[in-house]
């Protein structure tokens, strides 16, 4: 049956290993946990006691081993800043970020693919040139500037949409969603659009490039020579070929959307993981930084594996190789 190429699994393992090592090194060596965690006027004995209780006097590999075991059991330490378990903090923030990323991904695909096809089919046309020009402005504008401008226009001047926060959320036990309330949905619009804009231009340009490439291929020429209708050639045949790399890129982009959400969340004060992380960076809250890194690494690996499986399902050449 389906077999994800071994190399991909190897790579996933390597990535996780690197990530956990970096997290561990951060955890252990960056900043002095003892100094951060103990009271200001703690005595040397108290500090030594704390060091022992934290296991910091053990050999390095033992510490790394313990770190891995603790991590696997879901214990990621306690935030220096707000003295709560990091796992709990991340679990609270996860839904906000994921909902934002889902909205942005759907938006960017739904708009980016048709625009890309348009630009590829009528490369000299006015519409295509306009889209191309706007897309250049799109990739030249940093996310935070887009966010600020959107806030200025729609929140400050027009007052139509909220400029920060998630609005009212509905708690579904382990997941809090903004999809179910009007204010929640309204709050999603500006950050969602901001986050989507950058991805949208990337998707659009990719689809355009791939489509132009495919349209000049021999098999499309052969399809034309068989007299197949143009719309059939463009949308049934060429589009399918052109969308193959889009799968990979979308997968990668979901990962980088999670990272990019850091910026969007900062601009819109969106209570997600990114905001948590950036606050941790400015407070040098190492456990949170390390945990975020581990978590994003894991998400990445998961998404990439899913993309590989998906790719193998869609591309007959890979399907045959693994059969």
């Amino acid at each position: 049956m389906l077999k994800v190429p071994l190399s991909r699994l190897g790579q996933a393992a390597l990535v996780m290993l690197v990530v956990s090592a970096v997290s561990f090194v951060m955890f252990r060596y960056v900043g002095d946990p003892v100094a951060t965690m103990s009271r200001e006027n703690a005595s040397i004995e108290e500090k030594a006691e704390l060091r022992r209780s934290l296991g910091l006097d053990q050999p390095l590999l033992v510490q790394y081993g313990r770190f891995l075991t603790r991590t696997l059991s879901g214990d990621l330490g306690i935030s220096y800043r707000n003295q709560r378990p990091v796992t709990q903090l991340i679990a609270e923030r996860l839904p906000a970020t994921l909902e934002l990323v889902i909205v942005a991904t759907i938006l960017s695909l739904a708009i980016g693919i048709p625009l890309g096809v348009l630009c590829a089919l009528k490369p000299g046309g006015i519409a295509a040139r306009l889209v191309q020009a706007v897309s250049l402005i799109g990739i030249s504008t940093p996310t935070f500037v887009t966010g600020i401008v959107l806030i200025l226009v729609f929140a400050v001047s027009l007052g139509w949409l909220p400029s920060f926060g998630r609005g009212q959320v509905v708690d579904l036990g382990w997941w809090s969603t903004g999809f179910l309330t009007i204010s929640g949905l309204k709050s999603l619009i500006l950050p969602g659009v901001t986050l989507a804009l950058y991805q949208l231009t990337l998707i659009m340009r990719l689809v355009r490039a791939e489509m132009i490439d495919v349209l000049s291929s021999d098999y499309i020429r052969f399809a034309k020579a068989r007299g197949l209708p143009t719309h059939y050639i463009h949308f049934r045949l060429a589009l399918r070929n052109a969308l193959m790399p889009v799968i990979t890129v979308t997968g990668l982009q979901i990962g980088s959307l999670i990272a990019f959400a850091i910026v969007t969340e900062t601009v819109f004060q969106w209570p997600g993981m990114g905001l948590l992380f950036i606050q941790a960076v400015s407070f040098v809250d190492i456990p949170v930084m390390a945990a975020y890194l581990l978590f994003v690494g894991l998400l990445f690996v998961l998404i990439n594996t899913v993309v590989d499986i998906l790719y193998a399902v869609v591309d007959p050449r890979l399907r045959a190789r693994s059969a």
């Binding site: 071994l6 190399s7 190897g10 790579q11 291929s217 021999d218 098999y219 499309i220 020429r221 052969f222 399809a223 034309k224 020579a225 068989r226 007299g227 197949l228 209708p229 059939y232 045949l237 399918r240 070929n241 193959m244 869609v314 591309d315 007959p316 050449r317 045959a320």
Partner: protein, 576 residues
């Protein structure tokens, strides 16, 4: 003979132009006329740039965008072609006109099954439903001779071999019973044995289904084998047209005569290839004489024979695994090959693609290392176990010339610099000035003007570049030159010139040549002794005359019988 009005294709005084950016126009085809009757194969031949493919594309309505029909008319099945719409009224591309392209590896969409690609045209043009289309697709695959057609319907293109894919392409072209088939170099990308099958299939289409075929090709042998009529083109113009036998046997136009004369014969060996116009003599001969004196001066008397021996050579290719050091798949490209080359002879290594001949060339010239076995140059091991490091005279002794003249010269370096590199590296000149005069002599020896040294490679044609590539190899003052398909990307008239040049150089300087080629006729014309390879193994080794007149191995016999040649038509009268 059928009346002209019943012709499936009639092109009359066609002119095709491409407007250029600077306001002028480039005329790709001028005043071209031809007609094709049902069941007739009409070959359109010429060298690159002759305009033959442009005609094919125009008929299909697939002319590249700036190109336009400037004058003349095209009738397909009696209906006039509208140059604005790019089609003829009542004629549907794909239904009435079928197309076959050169490269079967890229003509089929990799993401769709063979069946769906066969069926789509029928569903659009013949309005067949899925079941009827599938039934007909099966029929088509059977008729083009694909084994296990039912299973192949569900297969994807990558699961088929090149020959099978080209059959699928033909089946797709036939799917709606076209009256006309445009085949653009349909066998150029295929090996001789597969080519023979595809050609037979095309001939059958004409004979049994009465389809008219416009066969665009550069290969005279193919023309001789299956075409009823032939039109020879040169720089956009028709130079000669008529029944194949008539044109090939008694060409009237000087260009046609030269073109046909330049096709290497497989049945007998000629001294030189006849070429159009005078060949560079005078200065070139002087320069070659100078090369000879240099060669004799530097040559130590210790001429150990044979000059090269290859002993039990094996070469494996392993794909690198994902992690450093991990092993991937292993593939044995050359299996226990042994042969020897004598001083001063031309030794030919011939076989179809993937037979391992280029791998051997790479080992001999030091580009790759053998897995086992060894190569000896004048008794000294140069590759394999216990090999002496290839430096200085040992490295100098064996040089190489390559297939693709467009990539064999670094486009960022002037010719002078490229040619002086080996001279300076081996310290064959005492000063820069001496190196420059060496370079000038080399350029003259290969029949070009010494001013060529100041220019960049893009200023030269393919044939000229191949001459320069030869000059670079000569610069190291080698004893043996490995020629890896030296003429297979050149037009046939240029090929004749380059092969003549190699012969002249060998006669003048006493070089030894190892000629790697897939072209049996070229090997016959050039080589003293020949070895035949298949799938990494050396099957037969013999004197050229013996091998071609009396082959021993069944594979050699088969190969010789399959090569499409002019010899059948040309006969003895044409030899002069």
């Amino acid at each position: 003979m059928i009346a002209p009005s019943a012709s499936v294709l009639a092109i009359d005084r066609l002119r095709v132009e491409y407007p250029l950016a600077n306001g002028t126009t480039f005329t790709a085809v001028e005043n071209a006329s031809l007609t094709i009757q049902p069941g007739e194969i009409h070959a359109l031949v010429g060298e690159s740039g002759a305009g033959k493919t442009t005609i094919g594309n125009t008929v299909m309505g697939l002319l590249e965008t700036p190109g336009r029909i400037a004058a003349g008319s095209i009738h397909i099945d009696g209906k006039e072609f509208d140059p604005v719409k790019g089609s003829a009224a009542g004629i549907v591309l794909g239904r009435d006109v079928g197309a076959i392209f050169q490269d079967p590896m890229t003509s089929l969409n990799p993401l769709f099954t063979i069946g769906s690609q066969l069926m789509e045209a029928m569903r659009f043009h013949l309005k067949l439903d899925r079941i009827a289309a599938a039934a007909r697709a099966l029929e088509l695959l059977e008729s083009v001779g694909i084994p296990e057609p039912r299973r192949r319907l569900k297969a994807y293109p990558h699961q088929l071999s090149g020959g099978q894919r080209q059959r699928v392409v033909i089946a797709a072209a036939l799917s709606c019973n076209p009256k006309l088939l445009v085949a653009d170099e349909p066998t150029t990308a295929l090996d001789v044995s597969v080519q023979a099958q595809i050609l037979k299939l095309l001939r059958d289409l004409g004979d049994k289904r009465g389809i008219g075929i416009l066969l665009v090709t550069h290969n005279m042998g193919v023309v001789a084998q299956i075409a009823d009529r032939v039109t020879i083109m040169h720089r956009g113009q028709v130079v000669e047209s008529g029944a194949t036998e008539e044109v090939l046997r008694r060409p009237k136009a000087p260009y046609a005569r030269a073109l046909i004369g330049a096709v290497p014969r497989i049945d007998q060996r000629l001294d030189r290839f006849p070429v159009l116009g005078a060949e560079g003599k005078g200065r070139a001969e002087e320069a070659r004489a100078e090369l000879r004196t240099i060669a004799e001066r530097s040559d130590p008397s210790a001429d150990v024979e044979p000059i090269l021996s290859v002993e039990n050579l094996c070469v494996d290719y392993t794909t690198t695994g994902w992690l450093p050091g991990s092993r991937g798949h292993r593939f044995r490209a050359v299996k226990e090959v042994s042969f020897t080359i004598r001083s001063g002879e031309v030794f030919g290594l011939v076989g179809e693609s993937g037979c391992g001949k280029t791998t051997i060339a790479n080992v001999v010239s030091g580009l790759i290392k053998p897995t086992s076995g060894r190569v000896l140059y004048r008794g000294q091991t140069i590759a394999g176990e216990g090999a002496t490091r290839r430096i200085g005279p040992l490295r100098q002794a064996i040089q190489m010339i390559f297939q693709d003249p467009y990539s064999s010269l670094n486009s960022r370096m002037r010719i002078g610099l490229i040619l002086s590199e080996p001279i300076l590296y081996y310290r064959l000149a005492n000063s820069r000035a001496e190196a420059e005069s060496d370079v000038a002599r080399l350029i003259e020896a290969v029949g070009l003007e010494s001013e060529a040294g100041q220019r960049f490679p893009h200023a030269f044609s393919g044939g000229q570049r191949q001459r320069l590539s030869i000059a670079r190899a000569l610069g190291a003052r080698p004893k043996l030159i490995v020629c890896d398909e030296p003429t297979s990307s050149l037009d046939v008239s240029v090929q004749a010139q380059i092969l003549n040049l190699l012969k002249d150089l060998r006669d003048a300087t006493g070089l030894t040549l190892l000629l790697i080629s897939h072209d049996l006729a070229v090997v016959r014309q050039m080589c003293d002794r020949v070895a035949v390879m298949r799938q990494g193994q050396l099957l037969e080794e013999a004197d050229a005359a013996t091998l071609f007149d009396d082959p021993k191995h069944p594979y050699t016999k088969e190969l010789l019988s399959l090569v499409p040649t002019l010899d059948r038509i040309r006969g003895e009268t044409q030899a002069a």
